[in-house]
C-alpha cells in the first residue's frame, strides 16, 4: 500500500506542469500561481494519507480549486489589504520574463477574459476545459449540485464569448 502513496516531491515531479497550469489558469498570473502551487503542495503533504489510488489529476485539481477559492474568500474578508495589493501590483507591473513566457503560451486575450469571470464560474470552467473533469466530478470537487455546475459552466463560457467577441 505504501508504494502507491505518493510523496509531495513525486507529485511535484510527475504532475508539476499540470498542477502549475491549473493554478495559472485560476489565478491568471505567475506570482499567485506559484503561491497557490506551494499551498497545494502543503495540502498534498498533509492529505497524502487520505489519497486513494485513482485519478491523481482529479484529486490535485480538487485541492487546487479549493485552495484557490479559500484564498479568494480570505482576501474578500480583507478588502483593505486587497486594495493595497492592487496598488503594489500596478507599481511593479512591467514586462518581465514570466509574462513573456506566458503570453507565448496562451493568447493574452483568452487569459485576460478568464480573469474577468467570477471566481466560482472560473473554477468550474477550468475544471471542465483545462482539467477535463465530468460535471459529476466537478460537482464533487466544488461541493455543489450538478445543476449548479451545468449553469456555471455555461454562463462562464457565455461571458467569455462576450468578452472575446
Amino acid at each position: 500500500v505504501s508504494a502507491s502513496v505518493p510523496t509531495w516531491e513525486g507529485v511535484a515531479r510527475e504532475h508539476g506542469r499540470f498542477l502549475y497550469t491549473v493554478a495559472y489558469r485560476l489565478t491568471g498570473n505567475h506570482d499567485d500561481a506559484q503561491d497557490l502551487v506551494q499551498e497545494v503542495l502543503v495540502r498534498v503533504q498533509r492529505g497524502l494519507a487520505t489519497y486513494r489510488p485513482g485519478s491523481m489529476h482529479g484529486w490535485l485539481s480538487r485541492i487546487t480549486t479549493n485552495a484557490f477559492l479559500d484564498d479568494v474568500r480570505k482576501r474578500k474578508r480583507r478588502p483593505v489589504d486587497l486594495a493595497g495589493d492592487d496598488i503594489e501590483r500596478v507599481a511593479v507591473t512591467g514586462p518581465d520574463v514570466d509574462e513573456t513566457i506566458a503570453s507565448e503560451q496562451l493568447p493574452d486575450h483568452v487569459q485576460a477574459a478568464l480573469r474577468t469571470l467570477p471566481d466560482d464560474y472560473r473554477a468550474a470552467v477550468v475544471l471542465c476545459d483545462v482539467v477535463g473533469l465530468s460535471y459529476t466530478e466537478i460537482a464533487d470537487s466544488l461541493d455543489v449540485p450538478v445543476g449548479t455546475v451545468r449553469s456555471r459552466i455555461h454562463r462562464g463560457r457565455a461571458q467569455l464569448r462576450d468578452v472575446l467577441a
Binding site: A12, G16, R17, H30, Q34, Q38, Q45, G94, V125, Y135
Partner: protein
C-alpha cells in the same frame, strides 16, 4: 416551437445531457436558428479553451521547492526580491557616480530606489548597510579582466561585493550572495545557457540596461556587472568560474566566511 435550449448548449457539447434531454435538444435546435448560433458560439469558446497549451512554471520553480520544502511558509515577494534590491542599492550607493541616471533599471525596484536616493546623493537606501572591509584580509583575486581590485564591501550578512576597476568609468563589480537565485524575480532579462558559465545564467537584455549576468555556483549566487561591454561581463563570469582551483568563486565564498567572522555575525 418548444422553449429555447441555449442554456443547455454547454452540457450538450460536453456530453452531459441525459438521452431524453439530448433528444429534445436536437429536436429544438434543428428548428431554431437562435439556439443553433448559441451552440456554435459556445463550441468556439470551448475549443479555444481546450486547445490552450499547458503552462510551464518559471525555470527551477519546483527544484527550489524541493530544496526548500513547502511546509515552510512562502516568502513574501518583497523579501524574496530583497537580494536584487540590495544589489541595485549597492550599485547605486557605491557606484552611483558611474551609473547614468537616464538608463533603464534592470529590475523595477531600481527605479524606485533611484528616485528615493536622488541622483547626486550616494547615501545607501534605507535598510541597507555597507561596510568597507580590509582587502588584504581576504584571499581575493587581484584582478579580473586586467582590472585591478579596487574595494571590497560587505553589504549584508554573507554578501560580499568586490569592485575591480581603474576609474569611475571603467569598473566591474562581482557580488556573491549565499543561497539560491530567485530567477522568477529578476526583471528585464532572460535566462539562457552561456558557454563556460554554470547552469542557465540570467543576463540583462533591457535596451540600455547595465550589462549584468547572474548565475548560481554551488550554494552561492554570483552577479557580475559593470561599465564594460556586455561580452566582457560574460567573459569575466567565465574567468571567475573556470581556471585555477580553487576558483575565484571559491575564494569569494571563503571571503564571505572571513567577512562574517570579522563582523562577528555568526
Amino acid at each position: 416551437v418548444t422553449e429555447h435550449v441555449g442554456e443547455l448548449a454547454s452540457a450538450h457539447l460536453d456530453g452531459e445531457l441525459s438521452p431524453d434531454e439530448a433528444a429534445a435538444f436536437d429536436a429544438h435546435v434543428a428548428e431554431c436558428a437562435e439556439c443553433r448560433a448559441e451552440v456554435v458560439a459556445t463550441a468556439t469558446v470551448r475549443d479555444t479553451l481546450r486547445a490552450a497549451p499547458a503552462i510551464d512554471p518559471p525555470f527551477g520553480f519546483y527544484e527550489r521547492l524541493v530544496r526548500r520544502p513547502p511546509s515552510r511558509p512562502p516568502r513574501p515577494w518583497w523579501t524574496a526580491a530583497a537580494p536584487v534590491v540590495a544589489v541595485a542599492a549597492v550599485w547605486i550607493a557605491v557606484l552611483g557616480f558611474a551609473v547614468d541616471p537616464g538608463r533603464p533599471a534592470v529590475t523595477p525596484p531600481v527605479d524606485q530606489i533611484r528616485a528615493t536616493l536622488g541622483t547626486p546623493d550616494l547615501t545607501p537606501a534605507p535598510g541597507f548597510s555597507l561596510h568597507k572591509v580590509d582587502p588584504t584580509a581576504s584571499p581575493l583575486p587581484d584582478s579580473v579582466l586586467h582590472l585591478p581590485r579596487h574595494e571590497t564591501f560587505k553589504t549584508k550578512a554573507g554578501d560580499v561585493l568586490v569592485v575591480f576597476g581603474d576609474s569611475p568609468k571603467n569598473w566591474l563589480a562581482v557580488l556573491t550572495e549565499p543561497g539560491d537565485a530567485d530567477w522568477a524575480r529578476l526583471r528585464g532579462g532572460l535566462r539562457s545557457p552561456v558557454a563556460g558559465v554554470p547552469g542557465s545564467p540570467w543576463q540583462s537584455t533591457a535596451p540600455g540596461a547595465m550589462p549584468a549576468i547572474v548565475y548560481q555556483e554551488g550554494d552561492v549566487v554570483v552577479t557580475v556587472t559593470g561599465t564594460v561591454p556586455a561580452d566582457q561581463v560574460v567573459q569575466a563570469a567565465r574567468d571567475l568560474h573556470s581556471g585555477a582551483q580553487p576558483s575565484v568563486v571559491d575564494r569569494l565564498r571563503d571571503a564571505c566566511d572571513s567577512v562574517l567572522d570579522a563582523f562577528s555575525l555568526r
